[in-house]
């Protein structure tokens, strides 16, 4: 009826004869104010869901955390980005320009997650005496924040094992929500080590305070799995193994009988530890967009060259996860041969049990050697052969480190682990000119986005840009 008053006054009476000022007091219909947004426990939980939504954005796990880091680290003669978009082309060529808009997107979306979670963490007092709920919300928020920071440091910082992480610049650490736009927003980069410490602190809190089950949202094992990954990046094998062990021994998870069940899923399954949930109506999935063939809603932009197939042993079911198309060979991890399935509307697996077995295998190999029981009483061969059996390969009586790592690469290909593995394993990749690019090359670190350099005088650019 309020609307009617405005129309009536506008048409009939004329403003002269009414109280004038309140005619200018209009409220938005699709937005709410800061005060309302964080005013009640339910509202704060709703804001927390906003953090998950941002984590699933196409610049984060909805795409670039996985897709961009993979085509960056992958040898260009093996995994070739052949699309029209210049941003991923530059990334695949390992010749990134500082104004590449994907660099700015990855950066800003990560900090968007961080600001959303900082808003939640700043408003915890509304829970009052409900400490259980308060602690769970805090733990989820800190899991989201740590996950964003980990993905930032992998991309924009030098590797933990590259020189002195105390001195190498990381990314700015922000712990308060943004309420006003002033010069305090210009924050300098913390060191690589400081960022890792911050991530560990958040994830440890999350692991210790999250429930064992929490639907498809973060639970304590999700935090452990992420923590395991982070420790692996830091070369802390004992902790990486311990976290992986915690998940395996929980008995809550089991490998799918068939490897392909991991992909293009509608819901989490027994092997899924954490996945971005896409729905028919709300979805972001840049892997499906770029990897999938045109017959499966994709742009068919990433060609898997013959040389890649040489990685697989004969009979490996994972070598069947490809499809030959007019645009070249495409991976099926984000595509379907069923034209009625739109893979963009399917979940994106972030963490799954097989990775935990692979981490435990690598850790046990490094700490106790081939054939010896290590963490969890398992030998490296136990874990590796569990993975091999599932894809129809014969068990290996005794494994080498190279075999463990090859198994890891074959299993987790296109799942966002290539960049981290390239750097921590100190290998090399290949650019478009068939030249080798070593793991610690300046080219293998994303540039700080040009727009950030322009607006924040306290930032220093990465070497080589």
């Amino acid at each position: 009826m309020k609307k009617f008053k405005h129309i009536f006054i506008a048409l009939i009476i004329g403003a002269a004869f009414s109280g004038c000022d309140d005619l200018l007091d209009l409220e938005p219909q699709a937005s709410i104010s800061d005060e309302i947004a964080l005013s009640t426990p339910d509202n704060v939980e709703t804001a927390l869901i906003g953090g998950y939504a941002s984590l699933g954005a196409s610049n984060a796990y909805g795409g670039h955390y996985i897709f961009l880091t993979d085509i960056f680290a992958a040898p260009a003669d093996e995994i070739f980005f052949n699309g029209t978009f210049t941003q991923p082309r530059e990334v695949n060529a390992k010749s990134i320009l500082i104004d590449n808009s994907y660099m700015a997107g990855y950066w800003s979306t990560s900090f968007n997650i961080i600001n959303r979670t900082n808003n939640v963490l700043d408003a915890l007092d509304v829970f009052g005496n409900d400490t259980a709920r308060r602690t769970r919300v805090e733990a989820e928020a800190r899991f989201l924040r740590a996950t964003a920071y980990y993905n930032l440091i992998v991309a924009y910082g030098k590797a933990y094992n590259d020189g002195n992480p105390q001195n190498n610049p990381g990314v700015p650490i922000i712990v308060t929500p943004t309420r006003v736009a002033d010069e305090t927003l210009e924050v300098e980069r913390a060191s690589v080590a400081e960022v890792y410490d911050f991530v560990l602190s958040d994830l440890t809190f999350a692991r210790d305070n999250l429930p064992a089950t929490n639907g498809f949202l973060a639970n304590t094992y999700v935090a452990s799995a992420m923590l395991s990954r982070v420790y692996l990046s830091m070369g802390n094998f004992a902790q990486a193994g311990a976290q992986a062990q915690r998940i395996i021994e929980s008995g809550n998870y089991a490998l799918f009988p068939n490897i392909s069940e991991n992909y293009v899923r509608v819901q989490n399954g027994s092997e899924t530890i954490f996945a971005i949930q896409n729905t028919e109506t709300t979805f972001s999935n840049d892997m499906a967009v770029f990897y999938a063939p045109t017959s499966s809603f994709g742009r068919a932009d990433v060609q898997v060259r013959d040389i890649h197939l040489e990685n697989y042993e004969p009979g490996d079911a994972r070598a069947e996860l490809f499809v030959e198309t007019a645009r070249g060979r495409m991976t099926l991890k984000y595509a379907s041969l069923d034209p009625s399935v739109d893979p963009r509307r399917r979940n994106i697996t972030v963490l799954r049990l097989a990775e935990m077995h692979l981490i435990r295998a690598e850790v046990n190999y490094r700490l106790t050697g081939a054939g010896n029981p290590g963490i969890g009483g398992a030998t490296p061969e136990d874990d590796i052969n569990a993975i091999r059996a599932r894809v129809g390969l014969d068990p290996l009586p005794s494994v080498t480190l190279a075999q463990v790592l090859q198994e890891r690469r074959n299993e987790l290909m296109f799942e966002g682990q290539l960049l981290n593995d390239l750097k921590r394993l100190e290998g090399f990749t290949v650019d478009l000119n068939d030249e080798q690019v070593p793991w610690n090359s300046n080219r293998m670190v994303f540039p700080i986005p040009e727009r950030e350099m322009n607006v924040n005088s306290r930032l220093v650019q990465n070497d080589g840009y």
Binding site: K3, I9, A10, L11, I12, G14, A15, A16, C20, L23, D25, L26, P28, Q29, A30, S31, S33, D34, I36, A37, T46, A47, I49, G50, Y52, A53, G56, T84, T86, A93, L97, A104, F111, N112, N118, P172, P177, T178, R179, V180, A181, L185, Q277, N278, E280, T281, T282, T294, F297, P339, S340, D342, L432, N433, D434, R451, E452, N454, V455, N456
Partner: protein, 1041 residues
């Protein structure tokens, strides 16, 4: 505010002046057209000194009672020169028959201004006028198209050659970086809704429903003195459109029909299949040689094998590459598939007339126009009734009501593979249709469109999609005037402008490659949007001669506007088959949402014009604007302006030179206007809604800024109006300086905050320029020839942006940065080609930004200096119109020009002049690429999948200046006596051509463009597969009865 207003009312009442007469005599006569001798009903005959006057009746007769003495009688009528004569009444009635001369150059025209009208003689601001009849029945898409080239200081540019697309109008340059730069449009006193309902990233033209054939006149208010009465929405200028009114007299019917066709103004010469195959093959060899690899040749062979669909492309490979060097079996000219045979026709019927108490104008319009691109079509149907009724001597009332509906078959945005123009990227070895399998390796086409092209085959979109936009606009304005005293009139206006749009889209699974979501049984969406704007204004006008030698015209009032916007959207997929295209048949609903927004303005305004001795002119005006858009503490702004003018030629000392310099008025103005065209709730800290996996969420969406307010533009204007040789040569000159402060800026902030931008009032921008018009009567008499020429120059410069750089456009190439014009192109400079090896070279300079002090060249693009490499803002714009009449023939020729602007060819420039890095077909000029035998070239060596000069650089900048034969109309009006025998008043046959010829060095299709998916304040002058303008030729007939 209210008390101030009452004081103003009292002030106006107190100025009452009346005199009583002792003995009066009658002055009477007939007012006729000097050339035709026809009576002119509805003409106002006044004696200004006594505030007396009358209006002529149907037969042109008038009479006024006057006392004895000397009296100046003044007669003015729209379209005629002002008549002024001093008569002496001694002791009897006087007969004064008056002949009015057509006012070809418009010195004495009545000019519509905000909340009133004024004689052009008394104008002290900068106002450009266009008469509706100058562009009536022009075969163009909208009123802005029709105005192109006709007004000084106004730069009009269409986004591209698609119908109904956005048009940019800049009056005296852009005055804002983040807020709108479009002017305020006011039609018959109603500030009309200019919401763009497009749900794609390409904007549409909100005025496309408006039937410009109804236009009587358009006034463009350019300086602060003219525009300040529109306050916080006037900084970009104001376009006042007045529609036709009826005149007392016999009802005049007019019917007009025209029919014609359109074609592109230009096409681009692409390689044919043979050239393409050999160019790419050589590029693969070069690429392998350069990279030391061996895979590129097999790769290109595989590519050609794949996309030639089994036809024998090797036949046309040159013998040096192991082929036969014969003709290709497939040689598709993909560009020609983007265009269609485009027809158009229109019908217009109008009637006008009435008597002394009631006047009317009614009209109906129907037109159907095909665009030059496949599937582009725009239909419009409109109706209007303008009614004016004099109820009593004191009371008059009326209404203008128009309703229109447009139906628009839209196309994909320029960046979509499915947009027709992108077809030029397809390989010419790809057949349009699948080949008959038995015919291979020769090509015999089937009738099934090839869906295995390198890029999605956009021709499929023509047959298997629907993108229909229906827009309806109803504008109604009721007005009531009451004469409180002869010199004081109260006027109230109430109006509603309601625009409703439906965006209806459907995609068959057949187009899944071009529109992936359609793969699962097709996709359809529908969006409904409505904006309703309600405005009321009430104002008093005082118009009187205070003394014999001075006159005052004053207006004061208030207005309130409330604007309400609603939006709903639904989409679904999974249709049984292509015959089901409505969402009711969709198996899955993919999304549904509704939203809305509103704003209001509350305003008080006043203006006074004072004329002393008919030659010293003074004007002050001001407006107080409050808006819901601004923070509560900063809600009202005051926008004053003042101006003075002096008509030198009315001075006694000018008497001796009047034969040469007939008319000279100098004038100057200064004032403040605002720009409030920002988002409705820009000052609030906001959270929006989101969702994750079916759980609802919220997220911070905007940082609060309670101080947010309008932009302020301070404008100084000085100019003169001149007339030589009895006004055979006349015109205007204006110089202005416009300084905008407190720019509403979407300021980039560190995105570590979780936000990318925040809205602030920082920054300054300057526009300086001049405008010059000259109107001449070259030959008068039986053969007549008149010309009008206008040229204007505007220099835009951002003087302060708080140190920041705002990027926009394709790959962020357009910039807003301090010290430069808005939208300059910023990238490395392409130096040329290394004659030794064919490498692309870029320049390194000592000074960044300006690219001064050349150091050396580099092949390393990252090492090249980035700087301003072009400016999309024109240095000069203008037009040159000619009208020739001889017996029944009339010829109108209008040239239009834009000079000194650069464009960036980001689409086919970069992709089809990319040195064979991509599989796209290339422009034929790339055959001049570097080879060991062809070293003196600026086209780098072609290298397949090797970057060699295709980066964004000055290489793709092109001069977009042009001179265009915009409009030519040749008409023949049948002799009146012949026509009368048929029972008609008028029969005119005519032919019109639009965009007939274009002279330009531009290396794309057409220099008038700005790619639709990016077009904005900063993103200008970018060509990204942007369709050329249409060249249209029509033939028509115009019948009056």
């Amino acid at each position: 505010m209210k008390s101030k207003l009452y004081i103003l009312f009292l002030a106006l009442f107190c100025l009452a002046a009346s005199e009583a007469f002792s003995q009066s005599y009658t002055v009477s006569g007939t007012v006729t057209d000097a050339s035709t001798g026809e009576a002119l009903p509805g003409t106002t005959v006044t004696v200004p000194a006594l505030n007396r006057g009358g209006v002529t009746d149907i037969d042109g007769n008038y009479s006024i009672d006057l006392p004895a003495g000397e009296h100046q009688v003044v007669v003015s009528f729209v379209g005629y020169q002002r008549y002024s004569r001093t008569i002496t009444i001694t002791d009897s009635d006087v007969t004064l028959n008056i002949e009015l001369r057509l006012d070809v150059v418009g010195l004495d025209q009545v000019v519509v201004v905000g909340f009133g009208e004024i004689s052009r003689r008394d104008v002290t601001g900068a106002i450009a006028s266009v008469r509706g009849e100058d562009f009536q029945f022009a075969p163009v898409n909208s009123v802005e198209n029709a105005m192109q080239g006709r007004t000084a200081g106004v730069f009009i540019q269409q986004d591209g050659g698609k119908l109904g697309q956005g048009i940019q109008m800049r009056i005296r340059g852009a005055s804002s970086v983040s807020a709108s730069n479009q002017p305020l449009y006011v039609i018959d006193g109603v500030p009309v809704v200019m919401d763009d309902f497009s749900i794609s990233s390409a904007r549409t033209n909100p005025l496309a429903q408006f039937n410009f054939n109804d236009v009587e006149s358009i006034q463009v208010l350019k300086d602060a003195s003219a525009a300040a009465i529109y306050g916080s929405r006037a900084a970009n200028g104001v376009v006042l459109i007045t529609t036709r009114q009826g005149r007392p007299g016999r009802t005049q019917f007019n019917y007009s029909f025209q029919q014609g066709f359109s074609e592109p103004t230009n096409t681009i010469e692409m390689m044919n299949a043979q050239e393409y195959i050999n160019y790419m093959y050589q590029a693969a060899i070069n690429g392998d040689n350069f990279a030391g690899s061996t895979w590129r040749v097999p790769e290109i062979e595989w590519v050609l094998d794949t996309y030639s669909l089994g036809t024998d492309w090797r036949r046309c490979l040159n013998t040096e590459f192991g082929g036969q060097g014969l003709d290709c079996p497939v040689d598709t000219d993909w560009q020609s598939e983007a265009f269609q045979d485009a027809g158009m026709f229109s019908h217009d019927l109008s009637a006008s007339g009435g008597n002394e108490s009631t006047r009317f104008f009614v009209s109906g319009h129907y037109s159907d126009q095909d665009g030059i691109l496949i599937n582009d079509r725009f239909q419009r149907i409109t109706a209007r009734i303008n009614l004016d009724h004099t109820a009593t001597e004191r009371l008059n009332l009326g209404m203008n009501l128009s309703t229109g509906r447009s139906f628009h078959n839209r196309l994909s945005t320029d960046n979509a593979f499915s947009t027709p123009i992108q077809l030029i990227a397809q390989m010419p070895v790809s057949p349009l249709f699948y080949p008959e399998p038995g015919s291979l390796p020769n090509y015999v086409p089937t009738d099934v469109l090839n869906d295995d092209t390198f890029y999605y085959n956009g021709v499929l979109h023509r047959d298997f999609t629907k993108y229909e936009v229906t827009t309806m606009r109803t504008t109604g304005n009721f007005h009531l005037g009451y004469s409180l005293r002869p010199d004081l009139e109260w006027r109230s206006e109430a109006s509603a402008d309601i625009v409703t749009g439906k965006d209806d889209q459907w995609y068959s699974p057949r187009v899944a490659r071009g529109f992936a979501t359609a793969a699962n049984g097709g996709y359809a969406s529908v969006a409904w949007q409505q904006t309703a704007s309600y405005t009321t204004s009430h104002f008093l006008t005082y118009n009187s001669n205070i003394t014999q030698n001075s006159a005052l015209n004053a207006t004061a009032g208030l207005s309130y506007q409330y604007n309400d916007y609603n939006y709903s959207f639904t989409a679904g997929s999974g249709f049984p088959n292509d015959s089901f295209q409505r969402l009711t048949s969709a198996a899955n609903v993919l999304s549904g949402s509704t939203t809305g927004s509103e704003y209001s303005f509350l305003s008080y305004f006043a203006r006074a014009n004072y004329t002393l001795l008919d030659r010293y002119l003074f004007s002050v005006s001001g407006r107080v604007d409050g808006s819901s858009r601004f923070g509560r503490d900063n809600r009202y702004g005051f926008f004053p302006a003042g101006s003075v003018g002096w008509i030198l030629t009315d001075e006694d000392f000018a008497e001796p030179i009047l034969d040469v310099l007939t008319y000279l008025k100098i004038r100057t103005s200064y004032g403040i206007t605002g720009n409030a065209a920002i988002s409705n709730f820009g000052s609030l800290g906001l959270w929006g809604g989101t969702s994750y996996a079916g759980l609802s969420g919220t997220n911070p969406s905007q940082i609060p800024n309670p101080n947010l307010t309008w932009e302020t533009t301070k404008q100084f204007n000085v100019g003169f109006d001149y007339g030589f040789f009895n006004n055979r040569v006349s015109g205007e000159f204006d110089y202005y300086v416009k300084n905008t402060e407190d720019l509403l800026l979407s300021v980039q902030i560190p995105s570590t905050s979780g936000f990318n931008t925040t809205l602030r009032n920082v920054g300054n921008m300057e526009n300086k320029g001049w405008e010059f018009t000259v109107n001449t009567i070259n030959i008068d008499g039986r053969f007549s020839w008149t010309s009008n020429f206008n040229i204007s120059s505007n220099r835009n410069k951002i003087t302060n942006l708080d140190g920041q750089v705002i990027t926009a456009g394709l790959a962020g190439l357009n910039r807003a940065m301090e010290g430069y014009a808005i939208g300059v192109f910023y990238a490395p400079e392409f130096f040329g080609v290394d004659p030794e090896n064919g490498n692309a070279l870029f320049s390194i300079y000592e000074d960044e930004d300006s690219c001064k002090n050349f150091v050396e060249t580099t092949t390393n693009f990252n090492a090249a200096t980035r700087c301003v490499i072009g400016d999309p803002n024109p240095k000069f714009v203008g037009g040159f119109g000619n009208t020739l009449n001889y017996r029944g023939f009339d010829l109108n020729v209008l040239f239009q020009f834009v000079y000194g602007n650069d464009a960036y060819i980001g689409g086919h420039g970069r992709w089809s002049r990319g040195n064979g890095i991509f599989e796209d077909n290339s422009v034929r000029d790339q055959l001049n690429s570097w080879t060991p035998q062809n070293r003196d070239t600026n086209v780098p060596e072609a290298r397949f999948i090797v970057t060699n000069g295709n980066q964004h650089s000055s290489r793709y900048i092109s001069d977009a200046s042009y001179l265009r034969l915009k409009n030519v109309t040749l008409g023949y009006e049948l002799p009146v006596n012949r026509v009368r025998q048929l029972g008609l008043n008028k029969v005119r046959l005519y032919a019109t051509g639009v965009n007939l010829l274009t002279w330009t060095n531009y290396e794309g299709w057409d220099p008038e463009m700005n790619t639709d998916f990016l077009a904005g304040n900063i993103s200008q002058g970018t060509d990204f597969y942007t369709a050329p303008q249409a060249r249209t030729i029509t033939f028509g007939i115009d019948i009056g009865f």
